[in-house]
Symmetry: C2
Subunit: 400 residues, 2 copies
């Protein structure tokens, strides 16, 4: 029988979806599952975005420019980025099929097979997938849950850099940690990128989900690094339009943008109906973001307090995104998560978390960590946490 | 300065967009350009597809399953494919980001870098791009404009097959030729695939644009080849929703589909608003297709007759898609196309064609061929052809 490619064979399956069949089986048996495992927010998309789609008067949904509809590109440059102090020209931005295409393109454009990319561990699992697809090696720079996964001393980077190192890939605020890097940390990363002439690929798709009072400090704000910074951004994430699949890649580096355009042309154009939603979303009033932010701060505080009250659980206070990593008093979070889905119920309900080992590259790390998303309303979270606490108390593999 | 990857550097730019800046420059100077160069149809999308988008009542455009919304997958399987005698189960189909992702996935899943893929020449230029991106070699099987680019004797394939050959990639009906392959030709391709255990990747995105009275014979209809056939399809192309970016990959081969799912998960999900349009499009009445078909037959006949009346021009009668390849009486179609855009006007209007050499892999082939799309209304085509004929008469590089 005709054999599939080695790449297809070895391609890692989505680790975070591994337990989904168990959740589906539980639901089939009438069990209610509280999903703390996924980053699918229940927050409404902005009305102006939905209205733009509903009131569109296209008679033919035809191709757009490979770089995206000009109204969207100009809108992003002049309405959105200018507003947050990122000054770019229209040719320095290409609309992508969400943040996913933007990350993959950034790696594909900058790295040859065999090249190394530094990434703060734990990190978004699909970085691993995209690295695999491009034949790259991710090199994990360890961080520490006890200090909230902050950027470690710069020596850790110096130690990891070899002549194969081509880029630093950073997610700020971070998935899965929710960690927000300070201006000082970003400047330190910039120094190391400048010193070794590395690309700094900055995934800032959670930029509007920051819970400090300071403005977000973007990699695009780092002085004297114009030719090295590539910004990965997501319009669909920012405006709770995840399914619209619209993002962008941004850089002052002309070579990078010219290359990105060649790849963009190969897939003809980004989805046009999503682009129409995105154009509408550009008019989202500040009150929308304020309300979303207030809601997430409430949920985060509730979740973090609830988790830290459970004996043996520790989680830091994340300052961005809508995730946190929690240390659980168990031997292995994956076994625990399975057990919860298969065997543990309170009033025929259970709670699902994501085992966090898949966010680590270093073997053995994160085995007792779980990623928890605070994307449910508080009454739901209340029950989810209560069930989690009781599950931890009764779990045979508990360590305290 | 940090250097981009070798792949990014060597990645071919879109050959068919190379002349676009010249067209833009002409338009800026007030010149009207008749676009016979692009496959952007002016045909309206089905009302039911547009209505589905306008009347959607989502409050949050959230992710779909990585394989696509279940309503869409079930609808494609039970409403569309069953209807045309392609019997598949839901897990044998994954919704892709248009035909583009489906082609790329098919190559990525089946071929290792260095593997060879047979393709009938001339072929869609992005096959080349996707082959390059995956490190593959396309091996061109020559066809002949004089017999309408039909599948050559099977010995031509036997001669081209080596131990590196992994797949045959066929486009039926074809872009850029408009050639429709007969049942016999498809069975012959099936025989060769079966004999050498090759994958047969069949790009049938123009299936609904066939101008014979026989039903389209799909690679999925070839007996005893279930494990080798991969179907590339496009919902957005079929329903004149090109910008919606919805297609699918279909195969009875479980290994292929499991691999496709891993790649699908990496990009999270196909565009959801486009999927909503596609679900609506499934209810498109047969009258819509009949009317589109009738319109294209009219345009095709007008175009082919008009072209063949020009001294020195020859084009066969294509039986599918909305393109034809025409032999022009010029030394080099690219130079001629440039000259038309830069220097030739009638009443301040000119005509743009696509030089066809980029659809050939064999050096020197197709230099006097142009791809002509018949996607304009007849009064526009009339003027476009008149200008083309006059341009050919006056062109300094003409050969007759």
């Amino acid at each position: 029988m005709a054999k599939i490619s080695t790449k297809a064979e070895l391609m890692p399956a989505s680790a975070i979806r591994k337990l989904v069949p168990l959740a589906d089986a539980a639901k089939k048996n009438g069990v209610k599952v509280y999903h703390l495992n996924i980053g699918q927010p229940d927050i409404k998309s902005p009305r102006c975005a939905l209205e733009a789609v509903k009131s569109n008067n296209l008679v033919n949904v035809s191709y757009s420019n490979s770089a995206g509809l000009i109204e969207l590109r100009e809108g992003l440059v002049n309405k959105y980025y200018k507003n947050i102090g990122i000054n770019i020209e229209v040719p320095e931005l290409i609309v992508t099929i969400a943040g996913s295409e933007s990350v993959n393109l950034s790696l594909e454009i900058t790295c040859n097979p065999g090249d190394e990319v530094l990434v703060l561990e734990p990190f978004y699992t699909n970085y691993n997938t995209f690295a695999f697809m491009n034949g790259l090696t991710l090199k994990a720079i360890p961080t520490d849950i006890r200090n909230g996964f902050q950027v470690p001393p710069i020596e850790e980077f110096e130690k990891a850099i070899t002549d194969k190192t081509k880029a630093i890939l950073v997610c700020n605020p971070g998935n899965p940690t929710g960690t927000l890097y300070s201006k000082e940390s970003m400047l330190a990363l910039g120094d190391i990128a400048r010193k070794h002439d590395l690309f700094l690929i900055s995934d800032e798709v959670y930029r509007e989900f920051c819970y400090t009072d300071e403005p977000h400090f973007s990699a695009m704000h780092i002085p004297d690094l114009e030719q090295n910074v590539i910004l990965v951004d997501s319009v669909s994430k920012r405006y709770n339009l995840c399914g619209a699949r619209i993002g962008c890649i941004v850089s002052h580096n002309k070579e990078v943008m010219a290359a990105a355009m060649k790849f963009a042309q190969a897939r003809l154009c980004p989805p046009v109906l999503g682009q129409i939603a995105a154009i509408g979303a550009l008019d989202t009033p500040q009150e929308y973001f304020d309300a979303v932010r207030e809601e997430y701060i409430k949920r985060r505080n509730y979740m973090i307090e609830g988790l830290n009250k459970i004996p043996g659980v520790f989680t830091p206070l994340p300052m961005g995104a809508f995730y946190t990593i929690a240390e659980l008093p168990v031997d292995n979070t994956e076994n625990f998560a399975r057990w919860m889905l298969e065997s543990f119920r309170i009033d025929n309900e259970t709670t699902m978390v994501t085992p966090a080992a898949s966010f680590y590259k270093t073997p053995g790390k994160g085995l007792n960590h779980a990623r928890i998303a605070y994307v449910l309303e508080i009454p739901e979270m209340e029950k989810a946490i209560r069930i989690l606490a009781e599950g931890l108390a009764q779990y045979p593999g508990r360590t305290i």
